[in-house]
């Protein structure tokens, strides 16, 4: 599909994938701070991991969803350079995952549902993150999230990349905005690692199967939330309403389940993901 000059000829379906990808990266793509006031009432942000600091790349807090108290977690991105620097471009350090875990364990204690909004290019790659155990922090969240007996719903709103996304996305239901992406690595990273050529980014977007439609097909997500025709940024109110409707539809059956059923449903959901033959 690629010729020597890396000029690729796309089918209409592939062109559509690239278009969605570009929408997901749009500079006006709505962020967690746009969505929270439109989906929840009475949001109270709660800070800190109680061990090291308050990571600004993940926010956590309490809110009401249709009157019922829930725990809200989300990656933070800004609308301009200053805001983005403040939020480290949505790339958490270990303390961000530990803050989220603290809130999730309180949700378990007080029997609240957890709503997690995912939008990150990945966990931060740096010296301090390694020194404070980035791997351990994500691993711990994966194990502890698997143990929760309250409903957890994750919604990928922008980009969900690598363990940095999964670290707060091990949910009973994983939903995705129509134009969002979810992947093990960025498209550029995929091209660099597998083809030693970061310039083959477009090809990687298509081959990596990172769009909502591909991921629904792979059984990795449970549902797609529609966006306005030209993308979420064209009508934030409408997009937030669609997210709210999807949350209502997905949380209702979970609230009827026993704690044990909730735990088992989440375990089975991830247990079943894998592509192999048994001989």
């Amino acid at each position: 599909m690629a010729n020597e000059a890396n000029q690729i000829i796309l089918t209409p379906k592939e062109e559509n994938i690239i278009k969605r990808y570009e929408i997901s990266k749009h500079k006006n793509r709505p962020t967690v701070n746009d969505y929270i006031p439109k989906i929840f009432e009475d949001f109270i942000e709660l800070h800190g991991d109680r061990g090291y600091s308050d990571d600004k790349a993940i926010l956590t807090g309490l809110a009401r969803f249709n009157g019922v108290a829930v725990t809200v977690i989300g990656h933070v991105k800004g609308k301009n350079t200053n805001e983005n620097i403040e939020a480290n471009f949505g790339m958490p350090h270990p303390e961000g995952y530990r803050k989220a875990l603290r809130q999730m364990q309180q949700a378990e204690k007080f029997r609240r549902a957890v709503i997690s909004l995912i939008d990150t290019p990945g966990a931060y790659c740096g010296v301090a993150a390694e020194e404070r155990g980035q791997g351990e922090a994500i691993a711990r969240n994966l194990m502890e999230m698997s143990r929760l007996t309250v409903p957890v719903i994750a919604i990928i709103t922008g980009e969900g990349a690598s363990g940095g996304a999964l670290g707060i996305a091990q949910a009973n239901k994983v939903l995705m905005l129509e134009n969002a992406t979810y992947s093990v690595i960025s498209a550029k990273g995929f091209a660099s690692l597998l083809w030693k050529d970061p310039k083959r980014e477009k090809e990687a977007i298509i081959r990596q199967k990172m769009t909502s439609e591909d991921l629904l097909g792979l059984g990795v997500i449970d549902g797609i939330i529609p966006e306005p025709p030209e993308g979420a940024h064209k009508d934030i109110v409408l997009t937030a309403a669609a997210i709210k409707a999807a949350l209502e539809a997905n949380i209702a059956p979970l609230l009827k389940m026993s704690p044990e059923e909730i735990y088992n449903q989440r375990y089975k959901k991830f247990r079943d993901i894998g592509f192999f033959n048994e001989t």
Partner: protein, 293 residues
């Protein structure tokens, strides 16, 4: 009888891969003329006795550089002879991304290494204690975690939970298997959940971090052991050193992401030289036996 047969198969495999081991010794050590008696250590580049090196379980007698091991070697050094029963080696990965050349690559690696995938799993005894065992082999596509590695680990933890046995995993991995994309990422969730169930049953899980353990394996089961041991000098981290150096624009100190670095930052329990590993594991397993210890 079944156990005997599997064991025979395994040693057949071990024999089969002894050729690449010898080749690697020549290539890494660079001393083709004296390969019988002497080797050149890949780390300190000094001439060392091949016999001494083998007696130390492939550790340099001068600088104690721990050479990476193939899974069957690790098995031989760690598990009581004749007790290992291999399990779940009948799984063959599919190609969820329809990635060109992926399945051919797997088949080729299976031929070269004699392994079915990047991890060897089963049950056996360490110092007379029954335990679940997983040994990753970085010569198999950098022991990256795809569907089969995830499934083998999940089954190992589930069966150990049922049998009420501890689990010991030797980790080594480049992280996620990119060829399987998001499906690879999901294996982190699957295995971590299985570790959680095993732990909730009150059972012991020991991880031994070996060189190199990075990415999605560090960010899942490698970091979840009740007790985390590491071999001296093993590189363990989330993001690879070169990626971080690329981001920050300067070189990182030599000890960055070594087992010693992890120990000083509080992320592992103990560094154990290879020659002491079996004894240490056996002592730890015995201390967790109910009603004994």
């Amino acid at each position: 009888m079944g156990e005997q047969k599997m064991l025979k198969d395994l040693f057949k495999k071990a024999k089969y891969i002894s050729v690449p081991i010898a080749k690697r010794a020549i290539n890494e050590m660079g001393d083709k003329d004296n390969i019988q008696d002497y080797l050149i250590c890949a780390k300190c580049e000094k001439k060392i006795s091949a016999e001494e090196y083998e007696n130390l379980l492939k550790v340099c007698p001068l600088c104690s550089h721990h050479t990476r091991l193939y899974a069957p070697e690790r098995l031989e050094y760690t598990i009581d002879g004749g007790t290992f029963e291999e399990k779940y080696n009948n799984l063959q990965t599919l190609n969820p991304l329809e990635f060109e050349g992926y399945l051919e690559k797997i088949e080729k690696l299976q031929r070269i290494t004699g392994l079915d995938e990047a991890i060897l799993t089963g049950f056996g005894k360490i110092g007379d204690e029954n335990t679940g065992i997983g040994i990753m082999d970085s010569s198999f596509l950098m022991a990256s975690m795809g569907s089969v590695v995830g499934e083998k680990l999940a089954r190992l933890f589930e069966e150990a939970t049922e049998k009420r046995l501890p689990v010991v995993i030797f980790t080594a991995s480049g992280g996620a298997r990119m060829h399987e994309g998001i499906v690879s990422l999901m294996q982190m969730a699957k295995v971590s959940a299985a570790v959680g169930r095993h732990s909730d049953a009150g059972l012991l899980y020991i991880t031994v971090l070996t060189d190199p353990t990075t990415g999605g394996v560090t960010a899942s089961f490698a970091s979840l052991g009740d007790i985390i041991l590491a071999e001296p000098g093993a590189i363990v981290g989330f993001t690879g050193r070169r990626v971080i150096e690329g981001t920050i624009g300067h070189k990182l100190p030599d000890d960055f992401q070594t087992a010693e670095f992890l120990l000083s930052h509080g992320y592992i329990d103990k560094i154990v030289p290879r020659i002491d590993m079996k004894k240490t594991l056996s002592m730890l397993l015995k201390m967790h036996m109910r009603g004994e210890g």
